[in-house]
Symmetry: C2
Subunit: 324 residues, 2 copies
């Protein structure tokens, strides 16, 4: 994946060139920390790959790519405050390393920074790009709000869950790709298809995440499996199990997602056993494959030679075949 | 002030037309609440007055004016969380009425919404307008961070304080006016002057606020005087008093701004007495007049007939002559 590696290196180089050595340090240090604590740069990579696929010089897409990545990191800072998450990518989260107020404010500044970076795009594409970033920002907020609502709601349906992950995760993947297509002046039809490709891929990706959290290869995973179970997250696996379970099994499942227990290990083991018994992994995989296939169909609809699509397809495949 | 009233009515009408009747309600209700809980709409009024002053149809400036007001209300929602302020304009603040997470998220969505609204501006002015809004958003964050830093810092100098209020308050006044001038295609020189007019006016306005908090007409003020003293806010009055005080007076002043006391009334009385004894009100008024005069000089530099400037000047005068 030479091209992908080159693009990712370019993104990291450009992020490194953003100037956060400013005053007040309490505002800029967290921004720099959040942006350089790792991350696979998938979203800005999507922007560059889409731009390249449609035959435009990727230099033109760099402001949009950086804006997407800065925006994404803003959402992580604020989500970690709301979710009271002490760690991200194995490191202390911003609000934990500093404090919640600094998390709020440096996140705000990063959201504004994303728009400031985006302004360096060519004037001809600025209107659709700013519209896209503001629209997706609002949708991601809607998704996060639904996620918080569902934490406290007893009954969440699978369609509601899928809509939540669409807003919280998938629209940003679609928008990252669409931004690249806008920069490249792709046709309206192709812009639609690349957006839907990203959206469906994003949903498939999140379902994969849900599955891997319980059934991933722990030795490669880097963290303990079952984090979602411990956190009582209502993932696709849980919701499907809740739908299929009856009698004693339903009681056990509900017990673990209502009450708190001090024995995480036992909880993970028992809930995983229920998931296995009800074959929810297989149902989730079916659902995931459905979205992935639909994503591929959208990619196929794009009016370009297959060779143009190869790099993006390869990245999509690697995302869907990861084992941890 | 017929024109000003008309413009303010138009702003309120347009804000009323923004659609917040959307799902999830937990995200949109707070946005609507924050935007309709009152407020004088000074900043969007500035945008329309500047546009009108430079001879352009104010309809062209409505997206920028609304964006400024929506942005301003975003800052209030987040500031109230950070400042743990239960009340604003006599009503419960968003985070208090709902919860801090909803405050964070609805604020985020409002910041994004400001940019979404701004996109309706004419394409020709979009680049400078988006650049302006993102730049001022970052500056306001810098100002809020400095404000938080100064809360815990023992020694804040008066130049540091003035720089903090410039960033936290004044740059938005300048930017609101500049946005109107950009829409009206004013010359670069005139754009500079109107921005500096707003910036200096904003600093003068905040100094007036500091003075009125202690020396305002309580019967007209609507709230108890001395709120800044109770909150141990390091206002201009406090910093100047701290600079001038010696011996026992300095000890008393420092005591009240370091320790907590349960007798707010006594604290307000004692600190006010010190302020009077040291004549810091007069010093603050001098400083305020200095900035206001400098603002007027910038307005005078604008290449327009005096009649064009009359409405804006009248608003500035009314802001500076308020007694509560």
């Amino acid at each position: 994946m030479k091209k992908t590696d080159d693009f990712q290196n370019l993104i990291n180089q450009k992020i490194g060139e953003l100037n956060f050595d400013k005053s007040p340090r309490e505002l800029y240090d967290p921004m720099k920390y959040a942006l350089t604590m790792g991350g696979k740069r998938i979203r800005p990579l999507f922007t560059l790959l889409a731009c390249d696929m449609f035959g435009k010089d990727i230099q033109k897409a760099i402001p949009a790519a950086l804006a997407v990545e800065v925006f994404h990191n803003f959402t992580l800072i604020h989500d970690d405050i709301m979710d009271v998450a002490p760690l991200r990518r194995g490191k202390e989260t911003v609000y934990k390393k500093w404090n919640p107020n600094i998390g709020i404010l440096s996140g705000d500044a990063m959201l504004a920074k994303a728009f400031e970076i985006l302004v360096d795009s060519d004037a001809a594409q600025l209107k659709p790009l700013v519209h896209l970033l503001s629209k997706v920002a609002i949708e991601v907020c809607e998704g996060q709000q639904l996620d918080m609502n569902y934490e406290h709601s007893e009954l969440v349906t699978i369609p509601e869950y899928l809509e939540m992950i669409r807003l919280k995760t998938a629209v940003l993947a679609g928008s990252a790709l669409l931004a690249g297509a806008i920069v490249a002046d792709a046709s309206a039809a192709d812009q639609h298809e690349i957006y839907k490709f990203g959206e469906d891929l994003g949903i498939a990706f999140q379902l994969k995440d849900d599955i891997l959290d319980v059934f991933g290869d722990e030795s490669k995973f880097g963290k303990k499996k079952g984090g979602d179970i411990v956190a009582k997250k209502k993932t696709y696996l849980y919701l499907k199990a809740h739908e299929l379970a009856e009698g004693k099994i339903l009681n056990t499942l509900t017990y673990y997602f209502v009450n708190s227990t001090f024995d995480d290990e036992a909880k993970i083991n028992e809930v995983s056993a229920i998931y296995k018994q009800l074959h929810v992994k297989e149902v989730a995989e079916e659902q995931m494959v459905f979205y992935y296939q639909r994503a591929l169909a959208h990619l196929a609809n794009i009016h370009l030679p297959e060779t143009n699509k190869a790099a993006l397809l390869e990245v999509a495949e690697s995302l869907m075949s990861r084992e941890f």
